[in-house]
């Protein structure tokens, strides 16, 4: 097993657990105040609101922990990339953490504690405020994703005194937001989070035939937001086609016309992810059909199918988004490659592309990869351990959901 494969496996696993959890945190945070406001303190809705809020409290910390695991894997497996990302994008990290920890955490705790002790309108307003602050976290982290798709705002400066021959510089942090892949990415994330959370609410309560008013409302929200998220996904793919051609090539299976034939080998993806992409579309459709039919057919099997396909859709889409970058950690833009080639020569452009590859990032100064290749048992033990704890996370969530005070 080489360093890139190791990094890929570990990051794919941790993203596969982290993203569904934080999607539900985000989606639930926007859904609950809406539900609370719509119900105006109606007891039938409030039972569900309190149950879902308990889930939120249990999952926020677990989701956060998996975020920390991502950081450790990035630092351990791609140290140079993480180091440079820390230096270049520090305001982005700082803003995310300031909102994620300093503001959102106490607000979520306060919101949970005041549930049922404040007028529904005021409490819903507090909920929306909390959701707004929490949303800054994905707004920032998705900006990092957008930068690795297409490094808008990041300049490559020729520097013979640098070991790699160039420096990466961000002169204006606001320029990062001009990234064309960012709006559809963040939009599909936010819409998808609300759709996913409401789909889960529909299927979980549908399975137990409880909180039927909430089920009906959540189903409509899941379908509406799911459709909007799918449209945003199409927009995202469209932007990738023009600005992150390696990803588009990997996902669609053919070389985008935006890549000059002479640069085909530079932008060729490592994996063809056509099958996982089609699978994601099918899973999403099955999930939508399950949502639609569950209003008429009362079937536990249908709810389980809907639940599993919803989770699988989110994981699949996220993995496709992550893996389609390969072989790059940061995909060099076609326009930049051409400009660098004309300004400094083809060799310099190729050097930049090579340095930005995941292979260079993962094999440079990577003690863990060296250690694991010398002793692969460490990795096998890790995979077994992580699998066990993924199951235990689900058990923990189930326990939290089924917990009753005083029991």
């Amino acid at each position: 097993m080489n360093a890139v494969e190791l990094a890929t496996i570990l990051l794919a696993w941790v993203f596969g657990v982290h993203i569904p959890l934080v999607y539900t945190v985000l989606g639930v945070l926007w859904t609950l105040p809406a539900l609370e406001y719509a119900s105006r303190g109606d007891g039938r809705y409030m039972v569900a609101v309190k149950g879902i809020a308990r889930y939120l409290i249990a999952v926020y910390a677990v989701g956060g922990v998996f975020g920390t695991i991502i950081t450790v894997f990035l630092a351990g497996m791609l140290p140079v990339f993480t180091n440079l990302a820390g230096v270049l994008l520090w305001p982005v990290w700082a803003t995310a953490i300031a909102f994620g920890v300093a503001i959102a955490l106490p607000l979520i705790g306060y919101w949970y504690r005041t549930l049922g002790h404040m007028s529904p309108g005021r409490h819903a307003a507090l909920g929306f405020l909390t959701a707004g602050f929490t949303t800054v976290i994905p707004l920032m982290f998705r900006l990092v994703f957008a930068v690795v798709n297409y490094p808008a705002g990041v300049e490559v400066v020729n520097d013979p005194s640098s070991l790699v021959g160039f420096d990466l510089v961000v002169r204006n942090y606001w320029a990062l937001f001009s990234n064309p892949t960012y709006p559809p990415l963040i939009l599909s994330t936010l819409l998808g989070a609300v759709a996913f959370s409401n789909a889960l609410i529909t299927f979980v309560y549908g399975y137990s035939s409880s909180n039927l008013e909430v089920v009906s409302m959540s189903r409509k929200v899941a379908l509406t937001f799911g459709a909007a998220a799918a449209l945003s996904g199409v927009w995202y793919l469209f932007e990738l086609y023009y600005y992150a051609p390696t990803m588009a090539w990997s996902i669609l299976g053919g070389m985008p016309s935006t890549i000059p034939a002479s640069l085909a080998t530079v932008f060729m993806p490592t994996y063809s992810l056509v099958a996982p992409f089609i699978a994601a579309v099918i899973l999403g459709l099955v999930s939508a059909v399950a949502l639609l039919t569950s209003s008429r057919i009362k079937s536990r099997a249908l709810n389980i199918l809907g639940l599993l396909t919803s989770i699988a859709t989110v994981i699949d889409v996220e993995e496709v988004n992550l893996l389609s970058h390969l072989p790059y950690a940061i995909i060099p833009p076609v326009s930049a490659a051409e400009e660098l080639a004309s300004q400094y020569g083809v060799n310099f452009a190729l050097t930049v592309a090579k340095v930005l590859s995941a292979s260079t990032m993962a094999t440079t100064l990577n003690a863990l990869a060296v250690f694991v290749s010398a002793d692969p048992a460490v990795l096998y033990f890790s995979m077994a351990f992580f699998a066990l704890f993924t199951v235990l996370v689900l058990v923990g969530i189930y326990m939290a959901l089924s917990w009753r005070r005083g029991s």
């Binding site: 249990a58 910390a61 677990v62 956060g64 922990v65 975020g67 920390t68 695991i69 950081t71 450790v72 630092a75 351990g76 497996m77 140290p79 140079v80 993480t82 180091n83 440079l84 820390g86 230096v87 270049l88 520090w90 990290w93 700082a94 995310a96 953490i97 300031a98 994620g100 920890v101 300093a102 955490l105 106490p106 705790g109 504690r113 520097d159 005194s161 640098s162 070991l163 790699v164 160039f166 420096d167 990466l168 100064l365 990577n366 003690a367 863990l368 060296v370 250690f371 290749s373 010398a374 002793d375 890790s382 992580f386 704890f389 235990l392 923990g396 326990m399 939290a400 917990w403 029991s407």
Partner: protein, 451 residues
């Protein structure tokens, strides 16, 4: 071009953040450990007082875990934002403890909620206790790994070499730390590191149990209850024993490590403010068992690499004196709560009852806090301005102190603009987070009383 020191504001931010995280992590370790001990006592005796204590402390532990984990994320991003180039050191050499820490972290974060949500769910209660035990071991293992990294900061592990790159990477990365062989990464847990680690884990337990005992004494004085007395009678002897082991055994070995591996830190913390090589009979006796050994004085090294001269106040004043007083107070309270003042020959305890018991809550908390702060400052400020410190013997003068500088060109983020208002905001968060945890515990305990 590198500078040795980072801006003072950045060092203060990290210092306060690490202290606050240390407090939260210590409280989690202490409370989850006590919950498991209490549940064990319940399983053995079926005394409901122990069950109440175990459940209460399990919830308190969850609060500290939740806020502590969030704060850990803050510290972690602080590392990436302030000391960006430390990330390269992690990847190039120090990764293994961080990697193992993930297992520990998962054990804590997944099992602690399961522990809290599964009271009375198992027909055989020992299964539930086992979940708590593994969660507590996860907490201790987490501390083990993070302390291994902190140990490496002060004492470079065997086989770890600092590589100064011929050219920087992108004007950012100048240094890497690389083990000479693939299995060298295991040296992160070498014997010297293990002493540092156990010193730190015991310190965490002492800090948290001192706080718990102090608050329990205070609460017991206001409204005496049998379960509070039982808690005190369990924790006080254990606390006294821990302080004794920390001071007399592990503290001694830790001191020997400093003598052996970092003579500059030794001179700074012991207040050896002279130039050149000089015999110090008392320190020689403590370190070598005779009075003939000499030591290099603080002024033997250039001013640019000397740690601050205020360190004796933290080491001798806060850590050593605070620790000794804490041990004495804890011993006195142990004797008192075991009613030894009623036994012939121990009547003098009655004479100092008021001092012991009324002053106890304040003294235990204050002394434990001072000793912990003293220890942490001694370890972390004493190695300034370097990380991965190693003393290289010299034939012409004092040992050469080598390491990676924490300033620009070393660890510090070259693109960071740390304005005072931003720093003030971060300071506020660093102080408010532990306050939030304490407030949540207060709310929980108040609600329990009402229920």
């Amino acid at each position: 071009m590198s500078t040795l020191e980072a801006p003072l504001l950045a060092r203060w931010l990290s210092g306060v953040g690490i202290m606050a995280h240390l407090l939260l992590a210590s409280m989690f370790i202490g409370t989850i450990t006590f919950a498991v001990v209490a549940e064990y006592r319940y399983m053995r005796t079926r005394d409901d007082d122990w069950r109440l204590l175990a459940r209460t402390f399990a919830v308190i532990a969850t609060i500290f875990l939740g806020v502590g984990a969030a704060f850990g994320t803050l510290v972690e991003f602080g590392l990436v934002v302030l000391w960006s180039n430390f990330v390269t050191l992690i990847g190039s050499g120090l990764v293994l403890p961080f990697y193992f820490e993930l297992y520990a972290f998962l054990m804590e974060v997944v099992l602690v909620p399961i522990y809290v949500f599964t009271w009375d769910r198992f027909r055989n209660g020992w299964y539930h206790w086992l979940i708590g035990l593994v969660a507590a071991l996860g907490a201790l293992y987490s501390a083990f790994n993070i302390l291994a990294v902190m140990a490496a900061m002060s004492m470079r592990p065997p086989g770890l070499e600092i590589v100064e790159l011929p050219k920087s990477i992108g004007q950012v990365i100048q240094y890497a730390a690389v083990f000479t062989s693939p299995s060298g990464v295991l040296n992160m847990f070498w014997s010297g590191a293990e002493i540092f680690i156990f010193h730190g884990i015991l310190a965490a337990l002492i800090l948290s149990w001192s706080a718990i005992v102090g608050l329990t004494i205070y609460s017991h004085r206001r409204s005496p209850k049998p379960y509070k007395l039982k808690a005190l009678r369990t924790m006080l002897p254990a606390l006294t024993a821990l302080i004794a082991v920390e001071g007399f055994v592990i503290g001694h070995y830790q001191g020997e490590l400093v003598v052996q591996f970092d003579p500059l830190k030794l001179s700074a913390i012991e207040g050896m403010f002279w130039s050149g090589f000089k015999v110090d009979p008392l320190l020689s006796l403590l370190a070598y068992g005779d009075t003939t050994h000499g030591f290099w004085g603080y002024f033997s090294w250039p001013a640019s690499i000397r740690p601050p001269s205020f360190l004796p106040a933290f080491y001798l004043g806060f850590m050593v004196a605070g620790g000794v007083l804490l041990g004495a107070w804890s011993l006195g309270l142990t004797l008192y709560y075991y009613d030894l003042h009623k036994v012939k020959g121990f009547g003098w305890i009655k004479g100092i009852e008021r001092l012991l018991v009324v002053g106890g809550p304040y003294a235990l908390v204050l002394l434990a806090a001072l000793a912990s702060i003293g220890g942490a400052v001694t370890a972390e400020v004493g190695r300034q301005p370097f990380v991965l410190v190693k003393a290289v013997p010299s034939t012409t003068g004092p040992p050469e102190i080598t390491g990676i500088p924490v300033g620009l060109g070393g660890l510090y983020n070259p693109t960071l603009t740390l304005t005072p208002w931003l720093a003030a905001l971060i300071f506020a968060v660093e102080l408010l987070m532990p306050a939030l945890a304490i407030y949540m515990v207060y709310l929980y305990l108040n609600r329990r009383v009402v229920e």
